[in-house]
C-alpha cells in the first residue's frame, strides 16, 4: 500500500489524523504530514476512511492518486 498526500490541497481539517493517526499527522502549520508512506495492511481501513473523508480529496491510496494541479 502506498499513501499519497497533496500538501498544496490540504486545508487542515485533520480528518486523516483522526482516522489513521499512525499514518497522518497535522503539523503546527495546519498542513498534513505523512508519517508512513508505506503503512502495514492493518492501517488500510483507517487510510481508506481518511481518503474518503478528506474534504478536498488531497489524499490517495496506490493508484487512486490525487490529481496534480
Amino acid at each position: 500500500m502506498r499513501v499519497l498526500a497533496d500538501t498544496d490541497q490540504c486545508i487542515g481539517s485533520g480528518m486523516c489524523a483522526s482516522c489513521a493517526p499512525a499514518v497522518f499527522e497535522l503539523g503546527g502549520d495546519g498542513v498534513v504530514r505523512l508519517l508512513e508512506a508505506h503503512p502495514p495492511a492493518s492501517e488500510l481501513p483507517g487510510v481508506r476512511e481518511a481518503v474518503a473523508l478528506c474534504p478536498v480529496q488531497a489524499l490517495g491510496l496506490d493508484a487512486e492518486r490525487p490529481t496534480d494541479q
Binding site: G12, S18, L26, G28, D29, G30, P55, V56
Partner: protein, 369 residues
C-alpha cells in the same frame, strides 16, 4: 482586486488571498484586540478567551488540537446521527399542521445545544441557559464597549457552569467529552486550565455559529424552490446542498487577523496594528474558484471548499458535527415539507461579520408522508 481598504482595516476578498492570510503564521487571530475594543482589557473573560485554542499558536495550540481531535473523529460524530434525526422528526411533526414556523426557534436554539448536552452528558434542561450564555459571550465579536457588561456577566456564568459540569464528570466519569478531556489531563496531555478553557470554547463555538449557518441554509433554499424540488427528488444531494448553501449564504461573513508587527501579505504592506478581515462572503463567490458564483446549485461540483470553517491551523474541529446537524435538519425538513418559502427576513443582532440569528419565519406546505 484581492484586497480593499475600509474603515475597519484591510478587507481580503479573493479566495486565494483569504487562504494565504488564514495560513500566514505571522498574523494573529486577535481575540485580545476584539476584547479590548469592548473595553475588556483584563479579568477572567480576557484571560480565558486570550489563551483559548482558537486564539493561540505554537506548541500549546498543536498539543490541544491533537488532544481534542480523537473526540471529533468522524466515526464518533456519526453515532449521533440517528438520535438527532429521530429527535428532529418529532419536532418537525409537531409543527406540521401549523404550516409555518420560525427556523431559529424550531432548530437553531434547540439542536446545537442538544448536541452539546449529548456530548457533555449535561441535562437537557440546561439548554436555554447554555444558549443564553453563549449568545452573551459571543457579543465580544461586536467590538463595542456597550457589550462589556453582557460579555463579562455571561462569561462568569459560563465558567461556573463549566466548572460544575467538570466536577460532576470527575466524580462520575462516563463516555462523554468532558470525561475524555479529564482522561487527557490525567495522562498530562492537557492541564486543568486547558480542560476548562476547552469546554468553554466548545460551548461557544458549537451553538451560535451552527444556529446562524442553519438559518442561512434555509434562507438560501427557501428562496430557490427549484433547488428544494431537486433535493426532494434526490436526497443524496443533501450533503452537497449543505456546503453549497453555506457557500452561498455564510453565517460568518469574515474571520479576523491582526498584524501585531509591520508585515506584508501577498505584496501588500501592513502597518503594525492593522486589522484584516478575511471576507468569506466574498471568497465564497470568487468566480475563479466557483464558476457562476451567484447561482445556488445543489449539484455544484466544488473543487475547493467554502471558507466558512476556515483553512489551515485554525480549521474548525467541530465541522463534522455542524455539517451533520445541518444535513439531518435538511433531511427531515425535505421529507416533511413539499415546499418552503420565506415569510420574513432573517432577523439577526449584532456583529458586522458574525450573524447571530434571532428569527427566520418560513411558511411551508406539508408533504404527504
Amino acid at each position: 482586486m484581492p484586497f480593499a481598504r475600509s474603515e475597519r482595516g484591510l478587507e481580503v476578498l479573493s479566495y486565494r488571498c483569504c487562504e494565504d492570510v488564514l495560513r500566514d503564521p505571522g498574523l494573529a487571530v486577535g481575540f485580545e484586540e476584539m476584547l479590548e475594543a469592548c473595553g475588556i482589557g483584563n479579568g477572567p473573560a480576557h484571560a480565558s478567551l486570550s489563551r483559548n485554542i482558537n486564539n493561540i499558536e505554537g506548541e500549546a495550540h498543536a498539543r490541544q488540537r491533537r488532544a481534542i481531535a480523537p473526540y471529533f473523529q468522524p466515526a464518533r460524530v456519526e453515532t449521533m446521527r440517528q438520535t438527532l434525526r429521530r429527535a428532529l422528526e418529532k419536532r418537525f411533526v409537531a409543527t406540521r399542521e401549523l404550516g409555518r414556523c420560525d427556523i431559529v426557534d424550531l432548530v437553531g436554539r434547540w439542536l446545537p445545544t442538544t448536541s452539546f448536552c449529548m456530548m457533555a452528558e449535561a441535562p437537557f434542561e440546561d439548554r436555554p441557559f447554555i444558549w443564553r450564555m453563549s449568545d452573551e459571550v459571543q457579543r465580544f465579536f461586536q467590538m463595542k464597549t456597550s457589550e462589556r457588561g453582557v460579555v463579562e456577566r455571561g462569561f462568569g456564568e459560563l465558567e461556573s457552569y463549566v466548572d460544575s459540569l467538570i466536577a460532576a464528570r470527575r466524580a462520575e466519569p462516563g463516555d462523554d467529552l468532558i470525561s475524555f478531556l479529564l482522561a487527557e489531563e490525567r495522562s498530562s496531555a492537557l492541564s486543568m486550565t486547558e480542560v476548562r478553557d476547552l469546554v468553554v470554547i466548545l460551548v461557544l463555538a458549537s451553538t451560535d455559529t451552527t444556529n446562524a449557518q442553519t438559518a442561512c441554509v434555509f434562507k438560501a433554499l427557501a428562496q430557490h424552490p427549484e433547488q428544494w424540488r431537486a433535493l426532494r427528488s434526490d436526497p443524496t444531494l443533501i450533503p452537497n446542498a449543505v456546503l453549497e448553501a453555506s457557500r452561498y449564504e455564510p453565517g460568518v461573513w469574515a474571520m479576523t487577523r491582526v498584524a501585531r508587527e509591520p508585515a506584508e501579505v501577498t505584496g501588500v504592506p501592513l502597518e503594525a496594528g492593522t486589522h484584516l478581515f478575511v471576507d468569506f462572503i466574498a471568497a465564497n463567490r470568487d468566480p475563479d474558484v466557483f464558476p457562476s458564483p451567484d447561482e445556488l446549485d445543489v449539484r455544484r461540483q466544488m473543487k475547493r471548499p467554502p471558507l466558512n470553517w476556515s483553512v489551515g491551523r485554525h480549521f474548525c474541529p467541530g465541522r463534522p458535527l455542524a455539517v451533520l446537524e445541518m444535513e439531518e435538519t435538511l433531511r427531515v425538513a425535505l421529507r416533511q415539507w413539499e415546499t418552503v418559502e420565506l415569510e420574513g427576513d432573517l432577523e439577526s443582532h449584532g456583529a458586522p461579520y458574525v450573524i447571530s440569528a434571532e428569527r427566520l419565519p418560513v411558511r411551508f406546505e406539508p408533504a404527504i408522508v
